[in-house]
Symmetry: C2
Subunit: 197 residues, 2 copies
């Protein structure tokens, strides 16, 4: 299995034919990867709040289908060799987020990574949907503060998504180094991916 490297702090896209699968590998462990998916014409995208309603849970299990904002199936979580803590609730980090955190000047961010990766396809996302934050280790407690701690994903842990429609997947190796979203002392790492038939 030849993995393509997605460098730390960067984004990319990959086209998937219906029936193909995308495997995303935590090659260094402890790294969050933001995932989006769009139909080829840009008319629909994978939507976390719609998936939450249809799935009936806030963290996906193996076998779960993820849905678009029109509630059509788009990706299926076919395999999950990780602790499965993926987060469906967090907005992607963006310029405003890093400004609030006190970053000086430009800071790489998942929202810009997504826009740049999608740009050449001609799809104008308009807005940045909530990504599926792979490997992100969040726990929620209603009115109490939620916990966001280092991912437990180990070196080689991976997830595999089957495309249920022709689509474009967009990934961003999360550049977060100011709060402990990523491990290694909050140091972003590369990840790997491949397309499987």
């Amino acid at each position: 299995m030849n993995l393509v490297v997605l460098p730390a702090r960067s984004g990319t896209r990959v086209s998937l034919n219906k029936g193909q699968a995308l495997r995303i590998v935590n090659t260094h462990g402890g790294q969050v990867v933001d995932l989006w998916a769009y139909l080829l014409d840009g008319s629909q995208h994978m939507s976390m709040p719609h998936s939450v309603v249809t799935l009936g849970r806030i963290k996906p299990r193996v076998g779960d289908t993820l849905y678009t904002q029109l509630r059509e199936p788009i990706l299926k979580l076919e395999d999950d060799q990780s602790p499965g803590t993926h987060c469906m609730l967090f907005a992607a980090c963006d310029r405003a987020r890093y400004k609030l955190l006190g970053a000086q000047g430009h800071h790489h961010n998942c929202a810009d990574n997504m826009r740049e990766a999608l740009g050449p396809t001609g799809i104008d996302p308009g807005y940045v949907p909530t990504p599926l934050n792979l490997f992100m280790n969040t726990h929620f407690h209603d009115h109490q503060d939620m916990e966001v701690v280092e991912p437990q994903a180990k070196v080689g842990d991976f997830v595999t998504f089957r495309a249920l429609q022709d689509c474009i997947a967009v990934m961003s190796a999360c550049p977060q180094d100011m709060v402990p979203v990523n491990a290694h002392g909050c140091t972003p790492q590369p990840v790997g991916y491949c397309v499987l038939d």
Copy 2:
């Protein structure tokens, strides 16, 4: 305090000047109200996933500020005389949702109510952001099934939001009568609201 009635299954909008407050009263108890807010030029809207990140929790407490997709403050939950189970995670019910639930023909839905209420302002929402689902009684359990049960809000329970910017609030008295989102045997009820200086 003169309340305006928002009839069951319908939506409306109200303009708020910065500093004014919107009180929403569960006049019959047990009724969910979807709430959105837009800046007057439509460039920003209240965003649940961005608010979740900035707040650090998935259910708002009194004193919490809600943010736009650009992470600017827009509304503050100033008072909450209800059990406070409001849900920040659920996509608004829409035509696709009712079709999946087996509704025959047209079914009133919060997404259409929002679009219709906002229409005359000239703001084109483009997409339907996740609303703040007021009084909605949801509980989340990571990989386990979440629970959606009847609201515990009693007759006369209310919430009050202070506008932190000039904005347009949109409300929909949730028309859900196929799953137990609303009480009274899943029968949608009217609610009331008023603007306070």
